[in-house]
Structures are given as C-alpha cells and as structure tokens.
Subunit: 452 residues, 3 copies
C-alpha cells in the first residue's frame, strides 16, 4: 500500500482507523450465526468472487477450472489458487488487485508478492491463518472494527441466522435488509408460489391486493424487529408509476394472465408503494438501477446467477422517478438512496435531483465504479451540484467478507485525496476538510441509514 503524502496523508491518518459502518452488502448472516471457520483459501477468496472469476473467464479460463459450479467436495482449492496466481497480471490496474493485495498483506500478513512461484507458499500461509480462532467470522468482525454490518435478505427469509446472532452473547451488530424484488416481479415463474408462501408466512390473503400489501407490511415489521433499517430494490430499467385500481391488475397477474407490459407496470407501481411504506414505517429505501442481469445465456444455464455477466445499461432517473417523487418526494421523513451504474447520470441527473428533493441521497460509486478512478469521477461530478450532505457515505456492497476493510480503506484514501484537492483549489480549509472526511468515512452512512 502506497503511503499518502502531504495533506491527503494527514486527512487519511485521521479517518483510517475509524469504525467501519457497512450499511449495504452481501455477506452471509450464517457466518456470524454459526461462527465456523472459513474453509480453504480458494473458497474464501476466489470461488465466490465474481469480480475475480469474470476477469479470468474473459481471458479464456473456464469457470470450472476456478471451482465455479463445482461442488466444494469436488474442488481442488490449491489448484484453483495456483491458477488464479498464474493470471495475477490480468488484474493489473484493477481494484480487485488492490483489494486482494490489501487482504494478503494487511489482513493476513503475507509479505511475499503474489505470483505463480509464490502461490503455493501463500496458499499454505492462508490455510494456516484460517485455522486460528482469531480468523473466525465474529473475531474478524471485531478485529475489522465493524460498528454495524447489514446483509441483504429475501423478503421471504425466516431471518433465523439474524435471530441467532441477536440471541447470542456476541455484541456485533449484524442486521438484515429487506429486499422484496422477487415479490414485485410478476414475470418470474416462481412468483405465484412465492406469493402463496408470503401468505402462509404472514397469515394474509395474498390473492387480494390489500392482503398482499399487508403481508409486505408484516414482513417489513419482522425485518425491523431483527434490526433492519432499510429496504433494497434493484431494477434494470427504472420506471415508477402510480396506478389507481390496482386490484384488477393484481388479480390478473395473480391469475397468471398479465402481459409483460402489465407486469412492468405492476413493478413500477409497487416501487411507489414501497416508498409510501417507507414513509409509514421509516425504513430507508435503496434503489439500485441499471444492471442488466445474466446477459450470457450459456453461463446462466450452466452456472446460474451472479457469474460476472451482469452489464450496466443507460438509466433515466429523471423521468423514471418522477411519478414516485411526485407522490412522496417532498415528505421529510423519507430517505431514498439512489445507486447508478451509468456515470453520465451523476452530474446530469442525480446531483441536480438530490440537490432539490428532500428525500433523495446519492449512494456511493457502485460495483464497477467502486475504484480509485471511479471514486474520483464521482466526487468530481457530484459534489458541485449536490454538495456533500446529499451523499449517503460509503457502502462496500460485497460478498467477500475479507475485502470489507480493503474497500473502506480505498474509499478513505480516495476521500482524503479528493478533499486535499479541494483544499488545494481553495474551496475550503483543513478544518472543513477534516469534518467532511469523517462524515464521508462514517457520519453520512450512519445518518442516511438511520444507524446512529
């Protein structure tokens, strides 16, 4: 890790060791409920990380060779790790390389540079490290200085792992996030069955639109009871609507007779309903727009979802959110955090919108843009119009637990560099910069997600 010099170095030093607030991510609650050791290095660092295996796949490595789609028992983790190390050059210039180097050197304490020749020795070192008590999930949570960690959970999840965590003696704060995407997408083959199941879980009649809404309200309540403060919603094309007389449309879809267009209208309407429920119950609403999922049909058929073939598309937040915002956007207690994969929306749409609507906050650079240059572009394009207080702080958004400190560290470094640049340009002094550095590191995330 390169040492930051000058003002940036000073600002970074002040925030480097602040607690980690992680209000959105994809770690497994089971890890913290069961607190079992992580398995081998490949299963920990490579097999589940679509940032990593997509790059190797793009250069001709077969996914099976990386253990993807191979049962854990049938994998050769050492061979997988070696294969990864052989292709380590592919990651030059990428945040994945930066995070992995951080994990290896700062977290695991490895002082050999990774490469084909050192792969075996490093594999052995990680294996040894994973056998220590201090590398179990709860111990790592504590060692990483995590203040709160939100997972992302299906609306139908029974939250038993979260219950286990809460009922344990452990003081870590691991909380769920309510993600009802499946319930709102009537084009999914499983939709009917899942709505039946929703009815069973909640005791509501989900054949009826009002019963459906009440069932969702109950699930939101159940999530809040487990500590949740937020919901999460993902759509490829952002469209919100407000339709009257939803009952008929709902009944038609529930009878399996709606068109794709009607299903899209239903989803658009339901996003507005979700915002209204957030006004009712105070849950922060997150909206991740613009990822076209599973674009590689063959990979999807053979390996399933989340295999590196999700590709961003253009988004239109202005027209897409107008119906929702005109229904609830002026409501003071609503917080709606917007995430984009289309950086052209930073300056054109998100900053002007967040600089007007009381409910809006701009989420941090997401996914491919959670990187040194991505963060620099984000600040460059967002701050002048939205200011700092309409930002939602940082999310690590990761499935890779070990990468959490690495990702927060990269954000903190990039934040320090940005703020030092602002001082250099004469926009404000060191006092304001220090205050903003702390807000960007932890304060804004706590406030935006009501985690104070």
């Amino acid at each position: 890790m390169k040492e930051l010099k000058g003002t940036a170095g000073d600002l970074y030093a002040e925030i480097r060791d602040l607690p980690i607030v992680s209000p959105h991510g994809h770690t497994e609650p089971a890890w913290f409920a069961e607190d079992a050791p992580f398995p081998d290095p490949a299963t920990l660092l490579i097999v589940p990380d679509h940032y990593v295996f997509r790059m190797l796949y793009s250069q001709g490595v077969r996914l099976e060779e990386l253990g993807v789609g191979v049962p854990e028992a049938a994998r050769d983790p050492r061979a997988i790790f070696q294969r990864f190390a052989q292709h380590w050059d592919l990651f030059l210039g990428t945040p994945s390389r930066w995070w992995m180097e951080y994990v290896l050197t700062q977290t695991i304490g490895c002082d050999m540079p990774l490469g084909p020749e050192t792969a075996d020795a490093i594999y052995d070192q990680i294996t040894e490290w994973l056998q220590r008590d201090e590398t179990r999930p709860r111990a790592l949570y504590d060692r990483f200085g995590i203040e709160v960690l939100a997972t992302t959970d299906s609306a139908l999840d029974d939250l038993r792992h979260h219950r286990t965590i809460r009922e344990s003696q452990w003081e870590g704060r691991v909380i769920p996030t309510f993600r009802p995407d499946g319930l709102l997408d009537a084009t999914r083959p499983e939709w009917q069955a899942e709505l039946d199941r929703l009815g069973e879980i909640t005791g509501e009649d989900t054949k009826d639109f009002k019963g459906f809404l009440d069932a969702i309200r109950k699930r939101r309540r159940a999530f809040r009871d487990m500590g949740a403060t937020a919901t999460d919603h993902a759509v490829e094309v952002l469209q919100t609507l407000w339709l009257d007389n939803l009952e008929a449309l709902y009944a038609k879809l529930r009878a399996g007779q709606g068109s794709a267009e009607e299903a899209a209208s239903f989803t658009g309407h339901m996003l507005t309903e979700m915002a209204q429920m957030s006004v009712e119950d105070g849950m922060v609403m997150q909206l991740h727009a613009g990822s076209r999922r599973n674009t590689n049909a063959d990979v999807m058929a053979r390996f399933g979802r989340d295999k590196g073939a999700d590709i961003p598309v253009r988004s239109d937040f202005v027209r897409g959110l107008e119906p929702l915002l005109n229904r609830v956007g002026n409501t003071p207690n609503l917080t709606l955090i917007l995430f984009t994969l289309d950086e052209t929306t930073y300056a054109r749409e998100l900053a002007p919108m967040a600089g007007h609507w009381p409910c809006l906050r701009i989420g941090p650079p997401w996914w491919f843009h959670d990187s040194a240059a991505g963060i620099a572009r984000y600040f460059d394009q967002v701050v002048e119009t939205a200011g700092y207080w309409n930002l939602a702080g940082f999310n690590d958004d990761t499935r890779a637990f070990l990468s959490i400190p690495a990702r927060h560290d990269l954000w903190r470094r990039a934040t320090a560099l940005h703020l030092a640049g602002q001082i250099e340009k004469g926009l404000f002094g060191r006092g304001d910069a220090r205050m903003l550095a702390e807000e960007l590191a932890v304060g804004l995330a706590r406030k935006s997600y009501k985690l104070g």
Copy 2:
C-alpha cells in the same frame, strides 16, 4: 480567494481586469431603468436565487422559511439571512459558495467568514453597503466593468425599461434578447391569448400563419431597435423539422384542435423558421436544450416556475438538429450557439458538429456545469475536436446581479488553469495562451454575439 500560482497566475493576471461581456443572462432591465437601491440582503442574495434555496430545500428547509412565495412585506429578511448562514456548510464544494464568498469579500468588502455567529453582523454590513449611492444598479454596472449586459425578454415584452435606459444619459449598454418560447409552444393554455396579443401589438393577423411569421419578424425588428443582437430558445427535447404547408397545421392548433404531437411538430418547425429569420436579419440564435422544467408538481403549484426543480435530461443534438442544419447550416452569416446540460454531448456531438458546420458555436458550460470542475471537463472534452474558435466565450446566465463578477472571475481562473495545463502538456506556448485567454475572457463572446 486562493491565489493562482505560476503560469496560471500569470495568465489570470492578464485577463482578470478585462471588461465583462455578458451576452446572456436574466437580470431585470427595470433595475437599470429605475436605478433604485436594492432592498435588503435576503432579497438581494437569497430569495431569488434558485441555486441557493434548492440546496436548503433538499436538506429539509421549507421554501417559505427562505421567503420564497412570501410577499416582500411579509418577509423577515434578517431571519432568512440567518437561516441561510446556519446552513452555510451545505454549500461546501459548490460554486454557489465560491460565488457568495466572492460577493461578500470582493464586492461588499466583508472580512468575516460567514457562519451562524457572524450572520447578524454581516447582515448589518450588507444593509449599510446597500444604502450607498455606489451600490445602485448603474453604479455597480460601471464598477463591475461591464461592457455590455443582455437581459432575456418575452417576445411580447414592451421593452419600456430598455427604452428608458437608452433614452437616459447613462452610458451603460443593457440590451434585450428576443425569447419567443411561449409563442412557439401551442400546448400552453395561454397560447391563443398570447397570439391574439401578438397580433394587437404588431398589427398583423395572427390567425394566419403568414401573419404570425410577419408578426414575429416585427417583434424581432423591435428588439433589434433596442439593441438586441440575439434570440434565445429553450426546449426540453431537441427536435427540429421542416414541414411544408404549415398553414393547415397552424390553423388547427390556432383553433385549439391540435394534438400534443402536432404541437411538438409545430415547435420543431418553428425553430427552423427562427433560424431562417436569423439568416434574414442577422440575429444570433441561442438554443438551450435539455432542461425538464418544474418536475416537482407540488412546488410548482405552490411556488411557481424556477424553484430549483428543473432537472437535465439526455439530449440528442445530432438527429435533433439535422433538419434545421440541412436547411440553413451552411449559411455563412448564421450563428447558432448550442447549450447543453448533458455533458456526454460535449465530445460526442457538439465538438464534432461545431468542428464542421459553419453556423455552429458551442456555448459555455451551462447552469449546473458553470463551476470549476464543470469548466475543466468542458475544455477537456470540447477543445480537441472543436478547437477554441468554435466556442462562444462565456455567459454568466444569472439572475443574481452581484454574482456576475464572481462568475466571470471563476471562468477566468478556470480558463487560466486550463491554458496553463495546455502549455505544460506542450500543446502551445505562452504567446498563444495569452491570446486565447483574452479571446475566452471577452473576444469570443463579442464575436459570437456580434457585440464588437
């Protein structure tokens, strides 16, 4: 204000005190006609500035608390100013903060930093300052070193304030700009009445398309007689057309029977007519594309237009302007200045188009992009393909009279920084940079707007 060092500092020093050429903006001609003192600090600096109150609104301050929509007599200007000062941190990193600091320190001569504790004292100091003769509109115009200042005026405006200015002994050059948007938009409820009124003013029969065009020609003439050199046109979605047999469509719309689509076609056709009239009469045509107006229906209903809820949308200048350009774009004496809120069009569309069509000039960074980083992105993305001579210089485009020197100063600083960077990269030497600095500060604006 931070001192610019090195080459940038040298270049800035040479252009800092050049006259201000302000060919597009929204100041009130009545100020210069009547030359009355500006009222209190809040009414001067906060209440009318949508850059300022949108940001406070986005963080939960009600617009009424800022005097918006409140009759002047019913406002408490000191309380408004205090509220603004309490939220001064919201503007960290924004050009509004930079401009306001410039106004307070450079223009008003205030040496206390703004904040909740100093708000009262600063309010008193501005109040005292506003009572001096030297702070009346005409005196400030002179003190600011303004060479020419264009207002923006409805096509139906009687231009009496402009007449008063011209007939006065004062030598300031305040000129109108012809903005016929209302006349070209048949979807507006007021359209019929305004066209009737246009007929009355001009003595033309505006029931007839030819009479309508002749009435517009007469109004353009009347504006030119008051010194106007330019027209201005704003559209959300850029569409131009050339339709034959407009008479029938016009008659239908005039009879209140056209569809929204027909009204849009009429607007698209009329933009081309406006360009043709510019070929006839030499008026420079300005086109501001891509602002979706009044997106917050509740704020619109309660407070009216221009309340911070105008949000940019994507633009397509290539296909949108093709019909107009293929009709008049090769005409040497036409100047069409394009403004965008969609920065993706800088390198992709505007620079290549301006680097080909003889009539086109690229307007300066507009609205949200009139900022240090916005200007840097503009130069970065425009110059390599369009060069410098296809740029239209700077516009301050402001309603906030006091911000004019601040905005030109920020542009001149950013220009000096850009040109110093070009020297550093070896693209040209200091002699060329000095020449370009002066062109960007004043020369290109004079030439583009025929204000020489």
Copy 3:
C-alpha cells in the same frame, strides 16, 4: 515536441523506437504497389485529410478553396497550403496540430514554425523533400519502422495492388482488411448490382442466400490469401440478430421488395453470420459503431462521402450485441474488437463486457478520441474494469500516411504518462509498467490481430 520528464520520460524512452504495428487504417495499397512519389504538399497533407479541412470549413473556408472536390490538375496546391497556414490558429489545442507539427519537424525536418509568413518557405521545403527517393512510400514505410500495415478494402476489391506488393521484392508487410459493409446493407441503391458482381467474381449464385454466404466465404479466403487477418464492419446503430429462415427475407430484399426495417434486420443478422465465419476461419472481427455518416446533405451532394460531416451518436453495445454474443461469444478462438465514438460506453458497457466475454477486446480511442485527453479518458474509464489484457492496443486508423508515426508517438507518450500515473498512485511498480508499456505499444496489437 515537449520532452517527457521523470518516470513517464523513462517509460516513453523504452517504447519510442519500437516498431509500428498498424492493424487498422485507410492508406492506399496503390502507394506501396506503385511506389510513386507523393505529389505536392497540399495533396499530401491537406486535401485528403478530413480532420483538417472540416475545421477550416467550420470557420467559413469553402471546401473548394482547399482543393476538395477540385480535380488535381485544377488545384493550386501552393495557394491551398497558404490558406491552411493562414488558419493554423484554428488548430490550437487539437491533435491535428500536434500531428502536423510532428510531421513537419520530426518527419520532414522543417525547423520553422508554421504560419502565414513561413507558409511559402515550408511549402518549398516539403516540395524538395518529396523529390527525394527516400520519401517514396516504400522508403517511408521502412524509415517509419512499420512492421505491418493493414489497409481497409471493399469486399469486391480485386486486391491487385496487394498482389503486386506481395509479388514484389520489397519486404514490407502491407495487408488488406475485409470490409463487406456494402454487401450487408440492402438499402443501398447499388446493392443488387454489387451482389450480382459478387456472384460473378466468386462463381456463386448470389440470388440464393446460401450462395451469398458461400460467396462471402470465398472472398474472405481471397483476402486471407493476400495476408488479411481481420474483417471490419461499421454501423451507425448497433443491432445484431439471429433469424431463422433467412432465405425468404433474403429473396425479398434481393427482389428489391424489402422494407427499411427488413433491411436493418438483414444487416443485424449478417453481423452474426460474420462472427460465425470468424469462428470458422479465424479472422479477427472489428466493429466500429456509432458514426452517423454524411449528415450534411449539401456537402454530400457536392463533395461526396468522408467530408467531415460524420458525427457520432449514442450507442448501446449491451443490447445491440446480445444476440451475437449469445451465439458465439463464448467461443475461445473468436476475437471481436469493439470501437466506440460514445465515450459513455467505456466504463458502462465496454469494460464490463470485455471483462466477461472471452471473445471481446476493446479497440483504442477512435477518431475524435485519438488525442491526448481522449487517450487519458480511455485509460481512466476502461482499465479498472477491463484490465489491460482485454485491450486491443493501438490503431492509427488514418488515410494520412505521414501521420502514422505521429499518431503512434502520441499514443506512446500518452501511454507512458498513464502508466507513470499508475505507478504514482501505487497501483504497480516500474517493472510491470515497462511490460505494459511494451504491450500497449506493440504487443497487444500483434496478439489481438493475430499478427505475431
């Protein structure tokens, strides 16, 4: 030329004199077949260069005054060169100026700065230079250190110049590229006749779809026999499809009865066929998307194609390529190189796609973006997600033979600056940077185009 300092200077020094690999461009094979001296300076440097004359046209110089559309015998080359020199300021800040200065100073050895006063003397100097044996095409090819130079040729081209080159004693490697755009666009008036001609050339019955495909296969074979390793395809709007039963659609189009929409479907399907043929025969497929051609109807009518009025439009690579990629994108031996004029697709679409699909490589910054700032934006937006190994190296893509060393030099300087910045940010060390510098200068181009 400004000297690069520090790390960038060191990296540049190591790659400056590497051979030139030019896998895509528009030089004339006749030059190398006939090896005749280039004519006068204007015909060499100005008349054919649309980068140059578009800029003068944009500032009111008539194309005829620059010799465009004027028979060579009727031109006054000295007057053209003087006119260009008078407007030399127009090019300040543009890559055209940088390239031209490189050509004048580095290639021709002129030590006077260009301007109206020096135009005559420089004209004379170039004229003298052009009379030397060492400035004939083959000698310049050798002097420039070109390792391989690809031209771009119609699918119907008889390749006789390429044959002459191959049969000569000269050891230069000038190879054709198969560009079948005309054959795939059924909306062109010449389409029927060209397909008849394709049938004659190949002995296949192009009235029949299978015969048409076989004829294309034979032409690809003929190009490979002359050394071609790649095909090239250009579309304004990127759409690919896979349709069953093409025979009927083809027959309808061949009978002149298809609609514009059917013709577009045919083109979209044929792009997928071309990719499939690349899987069969190993030819690298290039796709240049997003240029709207000949947008100035008057200039097109009077002067023809390629006269500076081609303007970029938005592209959608994700949805546009999905059908093609889902048919052949996982095939290991396919290489599909994508070029964009819409920089918003760098980070949003191209980098994530190239970071997943094994067949994809991202072409270098194209056309308006082949510039210092354009290259910097490209690296900034592409590398973090795609890495370096999914890039296709550099293309000069030029008709201006003399500009080839200049363009490669600018790329190598910009590459050195980028890599020095990466070292400065701590992303990797000098060893990796040196390796990447060489890959970006020559290695990646050789590999991507199978030119090793």
